[in-house]
């Protein structure tokens, strides 16, 4: 196996020009994705998780700029021009969104939209592209694939549309799939189907995935490794099991504690006090400091660097006072 990461992001910052000066959505973000790995990015609204995906695809809004380095198979994506990006987008790297209706063209039949990808990126003939597209719809378990090819997006249910999007995203065998809340709009029984399908397919095809979500349950089921984002900065990154079993960052702990679980305890949920704030990337200190119970003076003065923590392989934490190991917070019985 190749030791070099497939995608590496170094010191990524994303700024938006606003009427009242710049807003820094993301600052100092570092991470890497290995071939075939599923990386989860979790965070609340405004944490910058979607913007990171958009910056990788070169799809930031017109007033947004990304700085730093995003290296994909050795090329710096931020240095590529549009033509260079277009050679990768839709084939080597693809993206799916929360609402499939926004990425499917309502005026074109499913078949035309799927075959276009193959004709454009792989120079296939129409007949060949058609057969491959039908095959792919079969693989994402769409019944009656040949008939669906002749239908329009509005004739499909939400779950079916998301399957079509997954089929389209995987048609050219991408090395990486960027998925932005792909099941958030779906009912829970349909979400379970789509997640199962996505997990099996990317495993089979060896596709790496960055899965952006706010749902820790989805992360626990899907991801190999997790990046926890708050206010545009990385709080903690670790393999999924140690992260859930023994979080090192107070924000990760708070997020886990406030997530209700079917098998959790009764009584009040633990909460993180206060309100999250978006675009805090330009503040000098840790963006979580105002809500953090372990805050010390240094926390508001200086952003702690992302350093290896615990003995877990591949765990990094940005905190002046990470939680002691093992979680020494005593389980108080209320």
């Amino acid at each position: 196996m190749n030791a070099d990461p497939l995608l590496s992001v170094e010191d990524l910052a994303i700024r938006f020009r606003m009427r009242r000066g710049d807003a820094v959505a993301v600052a100092g973000v570092d991470f890497a994705v290995r071939r075939g790995e599923v990386l989860g990015i979790v965070g609340e609204s405004g944490s910058g998780k979607s913007q990171i995906l958009l910056s990788i695809m070169g799809l930031l809004a017109g007033n947004g700029t990304a700085t730093g380095r995003i290296r994909f198979e050795g090329q710096d994506l931020l240095a590529l021009d549009r033509r260079g990006l277009d050679r990768l987008r839709g084939s080597a790297m693809t993206m799916i969104f929360q609402d499939p209706m926004t990425s499917l063209n309502p005026y074109h039949r499913i078949g035309a939209q799927l075959t276009e990808v193959l004709i454009r990126h792989q120079g296939m003939r129409k007949r060949e592209a058609w057969d491959k597209a039908v095959q792919m719809l079969d693989r994402v378990k769409i019944p009656d694939a040949a008939k669906r090819m002749r239908q329009y997006p509005h004739q499909l249910s939400g779950g079916m549309r998301q399957r079509v999007m997954i089929a389209m995203a995987l048609l050219c065998n991408p090395r990486i799939l960027l998925a932005d809340e792909p099941t958030t709009a779906l009912d829970v029984t349909v979400q379970a189907q789509v997640l199962d399908l996505l997990r099996d397919l990317v495993r089979e095809l060896g596709t790496a995935v960055i899965l952006v979500t706010h749902d820790l349950g989805v992360v626990a089921e899907m991801c190999d490794r997790v990046l926890v984002l708050y206010g545009g900065k990385v709080m903690e990154a670790a393999p999924v099991e140690p992260l859930f079993a023994d979080p090192a960052h107070p924000y990760t702990r708070g997020l886990l504690d406030s997530t209700p679980d079917l098998e959790g305890r009764d009584g009040e949920l633990r909460v993180i006090p206060g309100q999250p704030r978006a675009a805090a990337g330009d503040l000098p200190g840790c963006p979580f400091a105002p809500r953090c119970e372990r805050r010390v003076e240094a926390c508001t003065a200086e952003m702690p660097p992302l350093l290896p923590a615990r003995d877990a392989v591949g765990r990094v934490v940005a905190c002046h006072r990470p939680l002691p190991q093992p979680a020494a917070v005593p389980e108080l019985v209320p």
Binding site: E44, D187, T189, G264
Partner: protein, 331 residues
């Protein structure tokens, strides 16, 4: 004790304008033959997926949508046939909070005006200072500083707007609040704050809640009883502990097993019931049991007859022909 709310055989059907000269008029049976009682101070969760009729049910029991058939009684007296004028004085006991907190607040009113509005409507005799004092009290109860009373909704975050909506709902000390997906639009850390707030207010003020949600984990936390709706009909209704320990209806079982578990070890060990297909359209539901086309246990009888709710002991009721065979429950 007189129930706060008694609902019998409630139906809400929406006619669809059918195409020109087409066949029989189409009807969406959003709520079909639902009955339940709600005791004072009780929390009933109504769960189900989009289109199952849970929001319509919440609005129909408040008479915000006229029922097609069946009866609704508030505090023991039938309000089904009452006119809007006759209903008005009774509405003070019945409040609602909505999913989208910002959309449910008038952007041109200050927080104090929004929260004080129900009080001024029902108690026009109150002096301005008395209204202000009650508004301040309601704000403190929901964890908002009264210093913010003269700000406008857009100046608040989603979680704070939901607190404003809750303050408006509790200011008249109602007997029932219908909570329609009150935490679905909120971030996890804020969702937990609002769930705790609702639980605390219920404890302190003793009102009953109908908690409409698609989030089973939140429901397990907040409810006393759970009702599962599927395409407008009750699939199951039971006490919370009985329901989560042993759901009887195959749909309820699938619904619970589809909930993502926030624990990678447990998530990867368990086996789940993955349903085939999507929720069918409520316009043209399948014959017999509406769930049968997705049900792993469907039999020939399920296509022929609509299963009625049957009691399996201590008020645990479910509507499925095959429960005894599947679970070995004594009939």
């Amino acid at each position: 004790m007189t129930p706060v709310l008694s609902v019998r055989n409630l139906k809400v059907h929406f006619p669809l304008s059918s195409g020109l000269l087409s066949g029989p008029p189409l009807v969406v049976k959003a709520v079909d033959d639902v009955s339940f009682d709600l005791a004072p101070g009780e929390v009933l969760a109504v769960v189900g997926e989009s289109g199952c009729g849970k929001s319509t049910l919440g609005r129909a029991v408040l008479k915000l949508i006229p029922p097609t058939a069946g009866t609704v009684a508030w505090n023991g007296s039938d309000v089904t046939g009452l006119s809007e004028d006759a209903l008005r004085p009774r509405r003070r006991d019945m409040q609602i909070i909505f999913q989208d907190p910002l959309a449910s607040l008038d952007p041109r009113m200050t927080v104090a005006q929004i929260i004080g509005r129900p009080l001024r409507t029902f108690h026009p005799e109150l002096k301005r200072a008395e209204v202000a004092a009650r508004v301040n009290e309601a704000m403190r109860q929901v964890g908002l500083s009264p210093a913010l009373a003269h700000r406008y909704p857009h100046e608040f975050s989603g979680g704070q707007c939901q607190r404003i909506g809750i303050a408006r709902a509790i200011i008249l000390r109602p007997k029932l609040i219908v909570c329609d997906e009150p935490v679905s639009a909120l971030d996890v850390s804020i969702q937990a704050q609002i769930v705790n707030l609702l639980m605390r207010l219920r404890r302190e003020m003793g009102m009953a809640l109908i908690f409409i949600s698609h989030n089973m984990s939140v429901v397990r936390h907040i409810s006393d009883r759970v009702m599962v709706l599927y395409l407008g009909r009750e699939a199951e209704i039971a006490g919370r502990d009985a329901f989560f320990a042993r759901p009887l209806h195959p749909y309820a079982q699938a619904l619970l097993s589809a909930v993502p578990v926030p624990d990678p070890v447990r998530a990867r060990q368990r086996r789940r019931v993955v349903l085939q297909g999507d929720t069918p359209s409520p316009i043209n539901p399948p014959s017999g049991c509406a769930f049968r086309i997705r049900c792993p246990h469907a039999a020939e009888l399920c296509a022929r007859a609509v299963p009625g709710l049957r009691d399996f002991g201590t008020g645990h009721r479910a509507a499925c022909h095959r429960i005894e065979e599947l679970a070995g429950v004594p009939a």
